[in-house]
Amino acid sequence: MDRFEWVDFSLQPEESNVISQTGVALYDGPAKSRVLAVPLSLVVLTEEQPSGFAKSAKIAVHFQKANSGKAPGPVASSQHDYIRLSFRNSGEVEFYRFFMEQLRERRWEKIVPPADPVSGVGARNRPGIMGIERSIQHKQRNMDMNISQSFKDLRMLMEKAKEMVQLSKTISTKIREKQGDITEDETVKFKSYLLSMGIADPVTRETHGSGDKYFTELARQLAAVLEKPLQECGGIMTLSDVYCRVNRARGMELLSPEDLLNACEMFEFLKLPVRLKTFDSGVMVLQLLSHSEEEVVKQTQILLEDKESLTAEELAQQLGLSVILAKERLLLTEKMSKACRDETVEGLRFYPNYFVTK
């Protein structure tokens, strides 16, 4: 069979992948061979040869004579006019169906010739390493074009951002230069201007999505939404819980942890009934303004005396709190000299502070 041509694995622009099949052997006439491509336009007849007991299914394809412009192939000339495809892993039925479909459609006749016929034909017909290199280059060019197109809009944005960062930088250096001359009040004023421009920390490049107003509004909304759940939780909730709850409530409009934190830091400034508090251990919580530490300490103390000793886990179970919060409660009670600790390999246990009371 002499109709085959050497080609590389990449598809030419006018070609398309219809079906890929593995485990197929190709017979050049009766003998097995390794061949790469053949124009479908040459096909004159196909026949199915169903699988037998020790024989895999085969499809025989008969060809007409090749065109004169054919690229070199593995065999210069052959007396056979057909090939056989041997399906060892089955799949012949599907393949045959697609194959027949393609033959019926005769897509190769409808193909519009490429815009640049010289390079297209050249690339297509160039064999060997040069051909491969060219096709790789061609692909890369295409990819570059796609990428630069899709980033065109972004670049505009980035140029604007550059200006913004530049602006914030000049302002912050001005502040720094003038630090000695201007009073504390003026610095604060300046910084608040910067904040309202949406730049929390002008020294870093981090700019927030929107201005100060966004955070104040967010803070107001958070306080309104959280007041009730906070009351249900005993007046205190870890920031991570808050984050989950708020985002669950917001559905699609998710908040980033940073935005949440920024908004929470506004609570005090806005005189809202909720406050952000950081424990000594670094755990951040939101608590109601009405939530008094003395009350908590007193409660915990009574519980401790009641139960003689408590671990954070036990207290968490008792009060339906998270373990982290229970631990914070106990630590707070300890800090107020109302509890003392017993630290063993089994864990940390708290007792009423008999050292002081007895």
């Binding site: 000793s309 300890e334 800090k335 000299s337 003392c340 600790r341 017993d342 630290e343 063993t344 246990r349 007792y351 502070n353 008999y354 050292f355 002081v356 007895k358």
Partner: protein
């Protein structure tokens, strides 16, 4: 000698964890100090080896399975040192002398005994003071020589006594 009994803290598990709260810790250390002194007094023991101390009943309550850590023991002994009840025998802090009465207190006891008996301006031997029948009812009876010597040195610096060599002492 007064009979020794464990204080209530000894059966209170937090007693064996040095408390982070400073107020609480102060009370805890006070309790530890008096326990250590009372215990040593009941045992008539002056030397404490910190490595062995961890297993002594003083720092290890088997009943509640709690023991004071080595760091804890060091903290307690350091507190005692500040009060003048402990002196380290070596720099590594392995052995210490626990004086449940400071030399000064001992000196005062001896001086009181002497004045009660109008033995001022007389000369006694050190042996006489601690081992003679006369002093049998006194607390300093059987006191170790080095401690007695230090007690008397204290009195000497106050001008209440004068040592005469290593054996004798004269009270004023």
């Amino acid at each position: 000698m007064a009979t020794f009994s464990w204080p209530w803290q000894y059966n209170f598990p937090p007693f064996f964890t040095i408390q982070p709260n400073l107020d609480t810790r102060k009370k805890q250390l006070e309790a530890w100090c008096s326990l250590v002194l009372n215990y040593q007094k009941s045992q008539k023991n002056y030397i404490l080896d910190t490595t062995e101390a961890q297993n002594s009943p003083l720092f290890y309550n088997k009943d509640i399975n709690r023991r004071l850590s080595t760091d804890g023991i060091q903290t307690v002994l350091e507190e005692l040192r500040k009060r003048g009840n402990v002196e380290w025998k070596d720099k590594a802090g392995k052995q210490c002398i626990i004086m449940w009465r400071t030399p000064e207190e001992w000196g005062n006891l001896v001086y009181k005994y002497i004045t009660d008996r109008s033995m001022k301006n007389t000369v006694c031997t050190l042996y006489e003071l601690t081992h003679e029948e006369d002093t049998e009812n006194q607390e300093f009876h059987g006191l170790e020589d080095w401690l007695l010597l230090r007690a008397l040195q204290c009195l000497q610096s106050q001008g209440k006594a004068e040592l005469m060599g290593d054996e004798g002492v004269k009270f004023f």
